[in-house]
Structures are given as structure tokens and as C-alpha cells.
Symmetry: C2
Subunit: 327 residues, 2 copies
């Protein structure tokens, strides 16, 4: 590839990225054509791959360590939604000429910090020059006991719909990052901004829900859109009650200032876990969630049919999808 | 993501890409947050990730099916160099607005064709909109018997350096694609162009060499550059004799027309296997290669020290690297 500052690709990989691979006994310090991984016997491997594009998924001027951590975390959120434990990741960077060494060092520092927090290591990857825009792709690998992965396709009529944490903070945080919501007090604004910049993958909750839920996904496209995915995969419909949606105090404060922002609650980037639970298993699922110290709130239920309906406090339809065909 | 032609991302994935996942019993038709893979007991998993950028790694107007096949094959070449058998892949596309449905359909058709040829299936991935340039990232997964992966770090002083197939065709083919080498006869020009457009990952050869070579890599950056990687990982030096380099008849014809093109032989994109073999194991390695019907030619030897030296027919140094420090 083209020179990156003073150092070429080989030096950059060796000096900046190879240390991120040292935590894994089979990554070989990125010296081979490919990475090796010896899966734990009796486990299924869970693989997910998400791409982030500068100016689309994060501001191009965002701090590199935050970009790195967001990239890792959106992928870890997919592992969380399958109930998997993170093992490692591969990274591909398409790098525009203007990025200097300092950017890579800060980016790698962000990865190092989150590797430590979530217990995984860099296994390999690729770095190429682009005349276009910084584009980051990450493939995350996790392990789950054989046959125990949480799936999207098991929701049944009568199941209850549960959501972890709170909804809408990241979407409101994006508005804050654009200079909107200027009247919001500083603490609330920072809380929302933080949720937008740094997703919290619900890995402990995902693992705790193994065997206790009928379907699960993470909320990235938005609560209604992601519940629609479960409905489509399971061949069912869902009803959500807007008044049940769990809101942070910061989101509550933002909605008091501007009630017209309410649709932002469904705009996505929440990286919470959305799960369906059979009534008979509700107590066990709620107890398992409580043991991980993550809020777990009933927001609706599964019905026969297709599509997702959102009802207000008076039972009026706020929004409805008609299922896959018209999605 | 933004609309792609008439269809949204969900429809596009469901209608165009999901069929590519049906060959794999654990890919679930791309309906979940992540893919599941149950590794064969007693195997190590081999993982590689390469990115291609339009206008950098392929012409932006290249036929989409060829782009797809090249993307898959450059990754399969990494698996080949580790001696692995392909299992599946994940795909991430950053898509500029001008690409229409027809592009995706042709791209998927190319993937389908090579999946069939190489025996693997789409496991999952991501598709995002970009205001920039088409950027494709693929993570390929393979399996190899536990502990049997070919590595770069085992070359020893006195080992012989072998190269599969022929060198330089792809680099000369790139020149043909740019309208150079116009005097070359049509058949030779097409042969070179074909090698540039469609790498041939040496998967059978890589598997056949298991246990028979001391180090291996694929030639992507260029013969000297990739041998340098082996030398660095193994702590040795290498000498290559230019007169031993295996050339196709098309490359010979091109060099007769323009001898100044000789340095192009080392420009990379060959996707051949470069391996080092202990003298005692030479006969067995050569026989194993012959059984896969791929030419396997001795091009040099491993010595003590560091760096790669290329000698001409009179033993004069044509090119030399000084090892990692000055690389």
C-alpha cells in the first residue's frame, strides 16, 4: 500500500497493531497469511461482520480511540444478541492519504482498552489505501455452547417482548453532537452523547439469557425495525406499548424540552437486547437479567400474524409495519 | 442504509444474497445477528480478511462478477498458503449510490459460481452506504487439521525455495488492461489479462504440502516482498536466481517485446504459493505438488542472515532487501 506517514504498512502493522495480537496464543503476532483459532471443544463459533464509514456512521473528525471502540462494540453487540462470549476479531482498514501515524496510534489504543475490557484479541486483518473515505470493517468471533446460541426465529404467539437498558439515548445523543438540544442541561447532554459515541454491548446479559428466551436480537436499526426482523424470522406479529418503553432520565429531560423528538426513540443505535420470553419463563429470565445488573423491561407481546404495531397510552396505533412484504 | 435502486437493504440481502447462504446448514439464511459455525472436531480454524477498493485494486468499471470472484479468490489464496480447506465467508460492502440492482445481481452470480467451484458458502456480513468509493471486505474461514497449518516462520538455512505456477503474469496483465503491450499477440494478451482478473488460489497444492514444507506464504505483494516476510518471520535470508523464475509463454513473449518490463515479474498479485523445503524433504514435496498438477519450481535457497537477494544469471545482484529494519 501507499506510505502512511513515515512508516510503511509493514512497520505500522508490526509496531502499532501486532501488540494487539499478543494476548492470543494462536494469532502469531500477525506474521502469517491468516490467523489460526482453535475453537473450544463443544462450542459453536459465532461470527459477525459490521462496517463503519466516516461521515456516515461517525463524524470524520471523531477521536480515533472512540471510533475504534465503537467499531468493536457494534460487533460485540451482535455476539451479545446471540449469547456468545467474545474470542477475537479481524480488522480491515481502507485508509485515505490524510491520516497520519498519530491517528493509528490513538485508534490502536482504543482497541487495546476495549480488548482488555471485553476479553478478546486481534487475530489478523488487512490495511489498504483508498482515494475515498475512511472505511472500517471488523469481523468479531465468539463462542457459545453447542446449539445454545440465541436466535431470531423462536418467538411464539403469547410470548412477552423485553428490552434491556433504555431506548433512544444514542439517537438523541446524535442530535446533541450536531449542536441540537442546546437547552438541555450539560449532564443530560453528556449522558446522551456518551451513549451515541460508545455503545455498551450487553454481553453478560446475552449469556445470562441462554436457554431462557425464545428469540433475541440487538437493537441497531431501531426498536420497531429490529423487532420486525424477529417477527419475520419467527412468522409472528408484535405489539409494543409506547408508554412501557424504558427511558433514561436524560432522554426524559430531552422529551420534556421537545416532545416532537419522540420518534427519535425508534431511530436505532441503541445496542440493547430485545428478546421474547414465554410467559412460563418470564420470572427466570427477569431474575437472570437482574443478576447482570441490567434493566430488563417488558415492552409488549407477540401475537399471531405479521408486522409490528406501536400503540400509545390510549391504545391508538402510533406506527405499524405490515411485515416483510411492505417493509 | 439508503435505498439501493428499487429495493431496500433487507430485500436485497434476502433476495440476492440469502441464496448464497443456503448451502451451509448453520448460516440460517442470513436471518440472525451473526453466523454460526460448528468447527470440525480436531481442526484449527484459519481466518483471513482482505479488502479491495475500486480504482485501487480493480477498475471501477470491471464486470461485477469478476470483482466478486477476485475478492473471494485473494482471500482463498491466503487459506491455500496455510494449507486450509475453505468453509465459508463473511462479506461487507460499502456501496456508493450509483450502483444499481443489476450490479448486485451480477456480483452475487460471480460469488455463486466460485462458491460452487471452491466449496464454501456465505455465512453473513454487512452492507452500508458510502458517499465514497465501492469498498469490499471479505473474511474467509477454512479448516486445517489441528497443528498442521503451514506457517511463515519455519524456514531454515539450507532449505530450498520453491514457487508454484508462474510469476509476473498478473502484473503484465494489468499493463495489458491499461492498453499497454499492444503489439503482443491476442492469445498471449488474453492469457495475461485473465491471470490479472482472476487469481487461481492454489488450494489443492497448499493442502498437499501439509507436513512437507518448512514455511509457506502466497505471493500477493510480490515474490521478493513475500519471501522477505518468510525471512523476517523465520530469522533467515534468501537468495533467488532470476534465471530460475518460472515464466508462462505469454510472459516470455511480453518480455521479448519489451525486456524493460522484467521488473514487473516481481510486482505481485500472482497468488502463487512460495514455500521453503528442507533438502531431505524435497522429493516428497515435489511429488505432492506434481500430484496436484501445479508446476512447482525451485527458485532459490535459504541462507543465514536477513533479507532477500535476487541474482542474475552471472551471479550479479539485481535487487536486494536488507531485512526488516530497512524494508
Amino acid at each position: 500500500m501507499a506510505e502512511l506517514g513515515r512508516r510503511g504498512e509493514f512497520e505500522l502493522i508490526n509496531e502499532v497493531f501486532a501488540p494487539l495480537a499478543r494476548g492470543h496464543k494462536l494469532a502469531f503476532g500477525l506474521t502469517d497469511d491468516a490467523a489460526l483459532l482453535r475453537p473450544r471443544p463443544g462450542s459453536d463459533l459465532v461470527l459477525t461482520k459490521d462496517a463503519l464509514v466516516a461521515d456516515v456512521h461517525f463524524p470524520a473528525h471523531e477521536a480515533p480511540d472512540l471510533v475504534a471502540r465503537k467499531l468493536l462494540r457494534v460487533n460485540l453487540s451482535d455476539l451479545a444478541a446471540m449469547g456468545a462470549e467474545p474470542v477475537g476479531y479481524l480488522l480491515a482498514l481502507a485508509v485515505p492519504p490524510e491520516l497520519g501515524e498519530g491517528w493509528f496510534e490513538a485508534f490502536a489504543a482504543g482497541l487495546a482498552r476495549d480488548q482488555e475490557e471485553f476479553g478478546l484479541a486481534l487475530l489478523g486483518g488487512d490495511m489498504v489505501a483508498t482515494p475515498g473515505i475512511l472505511t472500517l470493517t471488523l469481523t468479531a468471533l465468539g463462542e457459545v455452547d453447542e446449539g445454545q446460541a440465541l436466535r431470531r426465529n423462536g418467538a411464539c404467539e403469547g410470548d412477552l417482548v423485553y428490552l434491556s437498558g433504555s431506548v433512544g439515548d444514542a439517537a438523541l445523543g446524535l442530535l446533541v453532537s450536531k449542536g441540537e438540544l442546546a437547552e438541555l442541561d450539560r449532564e443530560a447532554a453528556n449522558a446522551l452523547l456518551d451513549r451515541y459515541r460508545l455503545p455498551r454491548p450487553r454481553l453478560k446479559l446475552g449469556r445470562a439469557l441462554g436457554g431462557l428466551v425464545s428469540a433475541a436480537t440487538d437493537v441497531s436499526d431501531g426498536l420497531v425495525a429490529d423487532l420486525e426482523h424477529i417477527c419475520w424470522a419467527s412468522g409472528v406479529a408484535a405489539v409494543i406499548e409506547a408508554t412501557r418503553l424504558p427511558l433514561s432520565s436524560a432522554a426524559e429531560a430531552a422529551l420534556v424540552l421537545d416532545p416532537a423528538l419522540r420518534p427519535q426513540l425508534l431511530a436505532g443505535d441503541d445496542y440493547e437486547i430485545l428478546a421474547t420470553v414465554a410467559p412460563a419463563g418470564e420470572a427466570a429470565a427477569v431474575a437472570a437479567a437482574a443478576a447482570t445488573n441490567v434493566a430488563f423491561t417488558r415492552v409488549g407481546e407477540i401475537r399471531a400474524g405479521g408486522g409490528v404495531t406501536l400503540l400509545d397510552g390510549d391504545g391508538r396505533i402510533v406506527e405499524a409495519t405490515a411485515g416483510y412484504r411492505h417493509f
